[in-house]
Structures are given as C-alpha cells and as structure tokens.
C-alpha cells in the first residue's frame, strides 16, 4: 500500500467540446459538449466503472485523461508513484512522455490497436523503448510481463495475426502494464471477446490490481461485468455524470431515473426471469443540442416542471452516493437484487 491516502486521480470540472463546423469555410457554428463538467476521484487500488448511453462521452472522457486528446477545460491531477502530483490537463505534450509510465489506456479493439508488422516482443516493449531503456533490459521485462498475463514465452517473436482475440487482448494488457503504471483506463476491454475468453481477461485484470495496487477507470456497457469488477460506479448521460455511488448501493438503491432504466434493461442469463425493462420513450438527445434543464427530462417518466427549466446538480444523497436529479430525495426507484 502506498503511504499516502491521496487519490491516484482527481478529476475536476473536466470538459471536452468539439467544434461543430458548417459550410465550405468551416465556420464554427456550435459545440458538441461531449464531456461537460465532470468531476470524480479514484483511490489507489480502486476500480471505478463508467457506464452510460452510447455517445454519452465515456470514451472521450477516458481519452482526455490519458491525453490522447486535449481537454477543453478543467483539471485532472495524477499522484505519481514517487508521491508528486501533476495536472494532466496543463502538462504540455512533451512533458507527458515521462508521465505515461504512470498511466495508460487499454483500447476497445484488440485487433486494430496492434501493429501487424511488429513482433509481439517489440509491441509489448514499445513503451519502455520510448523511455530509452536498453534493449536487453526491455526484453527481460517483456518476458516477465508476458508470463504474468499468461502468454506463451516461445511465441513472442511471432506477429499479432498468429494470436487469437483473447491472446491479443493479453498483449494489449501486457503493453499497458509494462511501465508499472498506477492507473489504467480500460475502454470496453472485453466486449470484443467471447464469454470464455472474457472470463480469463476479467480475472487477469483483477489479479493485476491485487499484485500492483493498480486503479482502473473501467468503461463498459455490460452491467453484469460492472457488478463483478467495480468498487464504485459512475453513470453518464449526455456528457455529464448523473449518478455516482458504491456499486452495491447503486444496484440496490439507484437514485437517478436514468440509472433505474439502465438497470431494468439488463437481461439476466435466466429464461425464467420475467424482466420488465423500463422503455425510454422519446428521442435520445444529441450533445450538440442538449435539452434545457435536466438533460434526461424528455425521456424521464417522473419529470416535473422544474426539470424542464433548471439543471440539477450532482449532490450527495447519502454518504458516498451522489445523484443529479431534482427528485432523488423523494423517488423510490427500483434496483436489481444483489445477493
């Protein structure tokens, strides 16, 4: 355990607005507020799951934090292994190189994120080479990491196309972990994989957390996977976090109507279950023209006048449990059973 209780990552009012351009001269006519005023902390060794509607900004948020893209505003403070802190948003690209050893991202697609022309041993070692470490030492570290994620050491000189989907995802994970990071953004790390391989990868990610005291921002739309992996869960809807709570609280007693709808739509692998999904009527809004007031109000079955005009703030409704809904104190929302 680290000697300090500081969060590994502290995100404050993070924003990413994409310009909307029109016409031949590409005049900027508006903004897609893909990430709009998002704040949260992640503790050492914690897994924070990020769920939400398709297009709500989950990937964009993850990419802003690892600075694959530049945020428009806000702060993201990373506490490094040596105890110092840096604001990732204000670090210039050149300064990021050394910080990359403390954080990394596992991308959604294990097929397109590996270079087909590089042997696997070089792919996994690439982040170390960027740090200028000697070749001999890199190879030793790659072999150690490959063994840790369960890759066969005899195959390391082969190219990615000789590996199955699950093995490729292990390669991605080995590459993300080789610099001994404190924090990983994992964007849908198992959704391209079939069930039996998915289980191998989820087990691996949990082992790594225990061995290395890693923290994850774990992005997925599979709520069964979330329940299996996460400590806390953040729910996004059109660029904002609308609910944030410890996992078992969120599942048993959701306090935001969108979370209730999401949970109700989970299909359990049980043909006897008579699931009654809450169908969201109305259009899913676009982040280029979000509705006034609460973004969710046109689809919310509890909406009242205030919801149409005033935007609710994310406020604490119980210890560690925050929701952005005007009615979250009054509503008794339906959760799903946790044993």
């Amino acid at each position: 355990m680290s000697e300090t209780e500081l969060p590994v990552l502290s995100v404050r009012a993070l924003q990413k607005h994409f310009p909307v351009e029109r016409g031949i001269i590409r005049r900027t006519v508006g903004a897609v507020k893909a990430v709009d005023d998002v704040s949260f902390d992640i503790a050492p060794g914690e897994i924070l799951a990020l769920v939400g509607e398709s297009g709500s900004g989950k990937t964009t948020l993850g990419r802003c934090i690892v600075r694959a893209i530049d945020p428009t505003g806000g702060e993201a403070t990373l506490t490094r292994r040596d105890g110092t802190s840096v604001d990732l948003v204000r670090t210039p690209q050149r300064g990021l190189r050394s910080i990359r050893s403390d954080m990394n991202m596992i991308f959604q697609d294990p097929f397109s994120s590996l270079s087909p022309r590089m042997p696997v041993i070089d792919i996994i070692g690439e982040p170390l080479r960027a740090q200028g470490i000697a070749r001999r030492e890199i190879h030793a570290r790659v072999r150690e990491m490959a063994a840790l994620v369960g890759l066969n050491l005899d195959y390391l000189t082969r190219y990615p196309n000789a590996f199955s989907g699950g093995q490729r995802q292990r390669i991605c994970i080995a590459r993300a972990l080789i610099t001994n990071p404190r924090f990983i953004v994992a964007d849908e790390p198992v959704s391209a994989l079939d069930v039996s391989i998915q289980a191998q990868i989820l087990n691996l990610l949990q082992d790594m957390r225990e061995r290395l005291n890693l923290s994850y921002l774990f992005i997925t739309h599979d709520l069964s996977v979330v329940e299996h992996m996460a400590d806390r869960v953040a729910v996004m809807y059109i660029g904002r976090i609308v609910e944030l709570a410890p996992k078992s609280r969120l599942y048993a007693t959701p306090r935001h109507p969108y979370t209730e709808a999401l949970l109700s739509a989970v299909l359990r692998p049980d043909p006897e279950a008579r699931d009654q999904p809450i169908l969201l009527t109305g259009e899913s809004a676009s982040p280029a023209a979000p509705p006034q007031g609460c973004h969710f109000h046109p689809r919310c079955r509890y909406a009242q006048d205030i919801c149409r005009t005033v935007a609710p703030q994310l406020t604490e409704v119980a210890p560690g449990h925050a929701s952005a809904c005007h009615l979250s104190k009054e509503l008794a929302l339906r959760g799903v059973g946790t044993a």
């Binding site: 398709s54 699950g166 289980a199 692998p269 169908l279």
Partner: protein, 337 residues
Amino acid sequence: MACAPLIEVRNLRVALPLENGVLMATDGVSFSIAEGETLGLVGESGCGKTMTAQSIMRIAPRFAHTTGQILLHEAGGTTDIVALDPRGPAIRKIRGGVCAMIFQEPMSSFSPLHTIGNQIEEAILLHRTQDRAEARSIAIDMLGRVGIPRPAETIDKYPHHLSGGMRQRAMIAMALSSQPRLLIADEPTTALDVTVQAQVLRLMRELQDEFGMAILYISHDLGVIAHMADRVAVMYLGSIIETTDVRRLFSAPRHPYTQALMRAIPRIGKRSGERLEAIAGNVPIPINKPRACGFANRCPAVMPGVCDVRRPALEVVAPEHRAACFLYPEVVEAADV
C-alpha cells in the same frame, strides 16, 4: 413443435479450401425453425455461426464448397436453397424478402454512396409495394420504431453521418421493413446500450407476433438468448454439440462445453469479486480436423482413448434434449453401431 417447420437445415457442410488445408467452417449442421419460433445460436468465436447464416442467404464466400440441404417450406412448395444459383433470380427473391439478415458488421450492408432512406426504400420496393411514397413512409415508420431520433430527417442521411449504434438500428429497420418470414439476426445488438437493446428486442417480438416471423438469433450474450429464444443450439468447432429448449439448456445443460460456458458468465447477484471460471485453453483451428470431439483438448471430463479417437454424434440424451458427448450412453451406443 406444433407448427410445420419454415426452414430445415440438413447436414450442412461448408468447406473452405485454403493454402494450408481445408477449413471446415460448418461441419454437418442440422436444425429447423418453425413459423413464429426463435432459435438461438450460440458458441465460441469462429465456431461457424455466421457461416451457417450466410449459407441460408447464399452469401458465403465464393470459393466455399457447400453441401447438404436448406429447405425453405412455403405455401407454394419447398425450395432447396443449396441447389439454387447464388446469383440467379430465385435466390434474389428470397434474399431480403422471405429471408432477411441483420449483419454483425453494419457497415457491410449499407453502401456509402446512397442515403440510408434510398437503400431501405429500395428493399421495400423490391418486396412489398410499388408505390414510392408508401415505401418512404414505411421506411420512416420503421426507423422511428427502432428508436432513431427524428426519423423523417435521419432518413436522408448517409451511413457515415450516423454513429455506430444508429447505423446498427438503421440496418435492423431495413431488414424488418420487408416483413420477412425468416429473420436472421447475427449479433444484432452488440454496439447498443441496454436501454436501446431492450427497445429493439421488443420490436422484433412485436413483429414476430404480428406476422409469425421465424428468427434465427445469433449471439454470445446469454442474457439476450435467455430472453429471446424458444430453443437454443450450441455450436463448437463447426458442429452443433447441444440443442434443447431454452429452459432446459439453462437449468440442466448436458454438454461439458455448455456447462463451462454457463459458469464463465458474470451474473448480477452472484458474489461479486469472486473469480470467474474461465475455460482453459484455446479453440483449435478447424483445418484438417481430427476425428475426435472438438472440445476434447479443453474438456475437464475428457476420457482419453474415447473422446480423442472418435467423433460424438448429436443424440437424444434426455426428453427433447440432444447432446454430442461420450459421457452419455446414448452417444456411445450410436458410435459403436
């Protein structure tokens, strides 16, 4: 089944001659689906699910060698799809009309050169009505029913204007707008979040109730299969290794692969944080397949000298329940005869 089958697949084999040998993508698959029924097709990645679906539409790769029968029973008579010319007029009337398919990869079913509206209307004009205005209003209605925002505007957009999830929904709308008798849905909701998925699944069921549509539903999401399927066929390495009705499959799976699959899924309510039981090892590549049970190299119950020298046939091992595994005397008996 009370209803007569709409489609009957008999001993379907799809062989792909490759440089390093013959790949048996589908190796003796048989099943049938009745009107109004949903058959779920599940199995490990690469086990031949998509190839089976493509064979019904006759869109398997050109170099594939297909044998067996795919019988389509209609009021006017029975057609063997395998015997049709894959580019002839008969299959073109079936494809997109009587049988429609929702593809795993939405980009592959839309041309980037035309608006989605044009493409959906074409399909409707080919199979349902001659009236352009009516075709357009059917298309708009369908787009709305799959949850596309502002369908009357979105219909004039090009595929690359839509997000992945919207494209997938547009394709579902296109497949459903011709009111097919058989809908083949190949991982239709993987890019969708659960609330949109719920909406799309409900629509498929509504249309099934309205028109008695039969559905072949391919997915690796066992939650969706439990919710949608009447019967389920489990495939492994090109063959169906277990098939029964959905309740029996989930409550008492017989084949060790199906049993392992059930243990590997995370479930809400199961003690979380517990390790999932992964299936060790990898699926072999089906080139020059040995005569053995395809699961033998990963099976916890493997019997050396039995499972690795003969191939188990799919036999009845319990009422309404077939499995291909030598743990069952019925299968051993069938192999000895």
